[in-house]
């Protein structure tokens, strides 16, 4: 998996998150994975076109609530309710769509699917690519992970 595929996503993340109410957003780590087992909220967005694969957003349940609360400008803590899940899906959609625009500026044309959100404990996730690049971010001290499993067609 080529590292050059991550910059459009990283740029998009750093660009979109501040617009959603996060003041300090930074990339903290990059790692390589194969299958992974997750607990918390998992949002999948599919990619087709010059590149094919899936992008998986992941955060712990408590962190997901904090992120949704920031996006929705809540004054009190929020549960992982319908509105929160809808906001988190929209977040995944915005970041991936923005990354698609960044790719198109480099002449790489991709299209994205609608996001699907699932949550649970110890969920084994198998993506279509052998290797997955995992980029972790901190958004106002809240950790969030972007797992990119894409490859040329």
């Amino acid at each position: 998996m080529d590292v050059k595929y991550i910059n459009p996503f990283v740029d998009s993340f750093l660009d979109v998150m501040p617009q959603l109410g996060f003041s300090e957003v930074s990339r903290v780590k990059l790692s390589l994975k194969q299958d992974f087992i997750y607990s918390g909220v998992i949002i999948l967005v599919g990619i087709v076109g010059a590149l094919k694969g899936t992008v998986v957003f992941r955060m712990d349940t408590e962190e997901a609530k904090t992120i949704a609360s920031t996006m929705l400008m809540d004054t009190e803590p929020r549960d992982l309710d319908e509105l929160a899940k809808s906001a988190l899906s929209e977040l995944a959609n915005m970041i991936t769509a923005n990354a698609a625009t960044n790719f198109s500026n480099q002449g790489v044309l991709i299209d994205i699917s609608t996001p699907r959100l699932i949550y649970g404990e110890n969920v084994l996730v198998k993506m279509s690519t052998k290797q997955v690049l995992c980029v972790s971010f901190l958004c106002d001290q809240v950790p969030m992970e972007l797992n990119i499993g894409i490859a040329p067609k």
Binding site: I42, L44, V45, G46, I47, V48, G49, K52, G53, T54, V56, E82, K85, S86, S89, E90, D111, I112, S113, T114, P115, R116, L117, I118, Y119, G120, E121, N122, V123, L124, V125, K126, M127, S128, T129
Partner: protein
Amino acid sequence: MKGIRMVIVDDSMFSIAVIKNILEENGFEVVGQAGSLEEVKAVISETKPDLVTMDMTLPGTDGLECTRAIHEIDPNIKVIVISSMMDDEIVKEAKESKVSAYIQKPVDADELVTTIHRIMASVELYQDLTNAYPLVFKEALLDAVNKMTKTLLTYKKESIPDEEFQSRGLTVIIGISGKFSGSLLIDLSKETAFQLVGAMMKSEPKNNDQVTAALGEFTNILAGNACSLLNKLNKAYGLRVTPPSVLQGDGVVIARPNFKTTSVLADTKFGEILLNVGFARGEHTWM
């Protein structure tokens, strides 16, 4: 295209007269007009138009607040902003408020008419897809099971889920992109998956990896076949499927997505398989 019913929102009698004239000359029906937020709410609730033309500057409100009020009444009503002001910032805000198109005053009749036709063609196309896809995906699942395992299945229940649901243990998710993007998932128990894959391979699967790989391919085939058939019905759909992801776990919950989906429950020789698929309307489709 059936008769298109429209409402004009503007505070200038001159602008209303100009827009009304263009619309009526081109066969659209103007069913109401409004010049304030209160009037907008009243007229929209009463007339339920297909499409609204919206001025940006209005006394005590603005075009975007009125657009949000319209979508609270009915999110399917399309809004075209017609305003003398137009810059990148305001157009971006309009997009974010789910406006379908932005036209600058003075109104060019051809531009307005073409824009309306484009928006309404998209609405009709989505309706056609919504009518067609449940049967096509059901046929594709039946066909995939039949061809790959030489068994039949029966459908028990079809519904439009309005809340999240618990996974049976194993879920395959495939994204769909195109004119309308969407997603498909199948959900089944680990035992059902094991037996289904065993029948597909005509031998017992050696390990979990084999089951997930075969199930991913199975879902990929069924999604690909269904989307090809839909594209044959109308090539404007331009549907393409993204690679499968397989999720496994106990007590996994699949949230209701931000768009309407259809669920069908199939009874197979190997156990129950749930098929859930849907497409987003594409409110954000910018003309």
